[in-house]
């Protein structure tokens, strides 16, 4: 498992006492305003636990929230497809990966923005498998060449087949999620084995903090029953689905998060729920675009999730820009660094452009480079006797050259070196073609793809996965 602890003084947007104040506001919202839950089983669970209900409306007492927060696990381990621990969510750890379901791809070979295909998706998955600094996979694109109703099954099958890295699963309807996890069970060797060594975390997108739809609630109940890890992600847009200020947006969204925490623990004490480490930002009220890189998106929610001590899913590495350019690199670097320093744990959306509508494999490679730099920049400094090397310093004296010492020759590779960022002389850079960052990133993508062979599935497992996709096709009448 990667040593993924972020060193240094913690960076936090919320000062002492601020998180408690947001929590208090969220508790007040749940008791006074309440919520509307469009799945009767969820309402019944809460009523049985002492919540006041009226039809699909619920008001949740603070004692119930306090109990649920103490019952929810503080850490979640995700495994790789082979059953090895890969990701430890909890404390100041940080992992990075792509986002899911882009409607367009910015083709790194032609520069065209077009509809992605299954072939693009498979290439993207292979790239993430090959990139050394990315830790998990999401499904990158919605492929336009399969039936939209069951695209999620094709996406999951491609991820299982194309990488051994842990998977964050996005599905449309509960049936798609169940099919996706059936594929995972086939890989793990049954539900019990998958529960013990989960290599899939399911993403649940919640309509609004206080208005939770049938589909998302059914997913939560199903996953909590089985003890499979899931990400419970209400999104509140300041200025539209929430008040415009950071504090209010955060408090309202937190109320929606806490509903998920309570429900999950009522279904199964210890059910592994992961809460958002992003939010508090607003819709861009000039363009009506939901921005991915606003300065308020990264810090406050991460700090709050740390205050709760619950595992979190964060957002960084995307860009609101349209191209693999200076804006995209700057936004990816700024958001990744801020989230890493805050301790953002499972961080998605590397490779996103156009506020999540377009994905780029070249931008993914740029993000991999940035993530590697950040890991080096936040690693604790080794000050062992060996590393401090005062004996070497004394042996070589005041004028010595350290270039040829064993100490240097043994350890020079420990320093971070770029794979993409250009450090050569001007003439050196020219002689290699004088390429821009975007051109070098595109070349790196092609080089990695031609050299990398993802580890194949066992034939019987591959057949089982294929059968699940075919069954979904038959059910959809295809």
């Amino acid at each position: 498992m990667r040593h993924a602890v972020i060193g240094g003084v913690p960076y936090s947007r919320l000062e002492s006492g601020a998180s408690a104040r947001v929590h208090e506001a969220a508790l007040g919202i749940l008791e006074r305003t309440g919520a509307r839950l469009m799945e009767p089983r969820a309402v019944r669970l809460l009523a049985d636990a002492g919540a006041r209900t009226d039809g699909d409306r619920v008001w949740i007492p603070r004692d119930l929230v306090t109990w649920a927060l103490s019952a929810a696990p503080r850490a979640v381990t995700l495994y790789d497809r082979l059953g090895h621990p890969a990701i430890e969510l909890g404390g100041r750890t940080w992992y990075a990966g792509p986002g899911s379901d882009c409607l367009h791809i910015l083709d790194h070979r032609t520069g065209a923005r077009r509809t992605p295909s299954m072939a693009d998706l498979r290439e993207g998955i292979a790239l993430v498998d090959a990139l050394p600094n990315l830790d998990f996979i999401m499904s990158l694109f919605i492929p336009g060449d399969v039936d939209g109703r069951i695209a999620d099954r094709h996406q999951m099958a491609a991820m299982i087949d194309g990488t051994t890295k842990p998977i964050v699963l996005v599905s449309y309807e509960p049936s798609g999620m169940e099919d996706g996890l059936a594929m995972a069970e086939a890989v793990a060797g049954g539900p019990e084995a998958l529960r013990e060594r989960p290599f899939v975390a399911t993403y649940i997108n919640v309509t609004r903090a206080l208005l939770q739809g049938e589909s998302e609630l059914r997913k939560l109940l199903w996953l909590a029953e089985r003890g499979y890890p899931f990400l419970w992600i209400p999104v509140t847009s300041g200025g539209t689905t929430g008040p415009v200020t950071v504090g209010a947006t955060l408090a309202l969204n937190t109320a929606g998060v806490l509903i998920g925490v309570v429900l999950s623990q009522l279904v199964r004490e210890g059910a592994p729920i992961v809460i958002p480490g992003f939010g508090g930002d607003g819709l861009d009220l000039m363009t009506m675009v939901d921005p991915y890189c606003g300065p308020d998106a990264c810090g406050p929610a991460v700090a709050l999730a740390h205050w709760y001590g619950l595992p979190m899913f964060s957002l960084a590495g995307g860009s609101d820009g349209k191209l693999v350019d200076g804006q995209a690199a700057a936004e990816a670097a700024l958001t990744l660094l801020a989230v890493a320093m805050a301790g953002g744990q499972l961080t998605h959306d590397c490779g996103y452009l156009e506020s999540g509508l377009t994905g780029s494999l070249a931008q993914m490679a740029v993000c991999d480079e940035i993530v590697g730099w950040i890991r080096a920049a936040t690693a604790p400094v080794d000050l062992s006797d060996e590393a401090l090397a005062v004996d070497d310093i004394d042996a070589l004296g005041v004028e010595g050259s350290f270039l040829e010492t064993d100490h240097t020759l043994d350890r020079f590779r420990d320093r971070w070196y770029p794979s993409l960022f250009e450090r050569g002389t001007y003439e050196g850079w020219r002689s290699k073609g004088g390429m821009t960052l975007e051109q070098r990133a595109a070349a790196r993508v092609d080089a990695l793809l031609s050299a990398h062979q993802p580890r194949p599935l066992e034939p019987d497992v591959a057949a089982a996965v294929r059968a699940i996709v075919e069954r979904a096709e038959a059910t959809a009448g295809l």
Binding site: L103, I142, T240, M286, M288
Partner: protein, 222 residues
Amino acid sequence: MYEDLLQAMRASIVDGDQDAAAEAARAGLEAGMDPLVAIDEGYVAGLSHVGSCFSTGEMYLPDMMLAARAMKAALAVLEPAMAERSAVRSIRGRVVIGTVKGDIHEIGKNLVGTMLSASGFEVHDLGVDVPVETFVAKAREVGADIVGVSALLTTTMTGQRAVVQALSDAGMRPGVKVIVGGAPVTRAWAEEIGADGYSEDAVGAVALATRLMDAAVEPAKS
């Protein structure tokens, strides 16, 4: 005539100033201005200006909300005078709007409704999670010219196709026009499902609805 007053009316909308809008309306009535002229040449002109500034990224969405609020304040003053004169603001068209079945997102749809009604359309908002049959029934009931179908999710946008189909099956097409919108919706999608138009935003939706109404009356003229 009344150019200073009309200018004040337009400015009150652009500034989003309710008090100034009501004040200008009162001044207009005192000066003997026709309330319909005040609305069309004063306030609606101001609103169009705000709309186009929003489209070009020179104003914020809340500027449009403030403008609509100021418009309402002016209408509150003008409407009693219109009733006295039995003047009726002409309706530019009847529009039924709603978010498709299975989708409970409403902000974009509401915005389109606000802009259309402020621009003189009669808007019937069916809300969210609207079954296909309800779109058809309401369109028939009110004699809709246009049905606007919203969807935010790639999974629910197929509902837009179902509405187009159901209106055809009911024999109401092509008389009733269908316009579609929502984050994942594109011009190509609108064409694919046989809708009559698509717009990126609420301001564009007003322009689109106006265009469709104009096109609908053209054959009668020729």
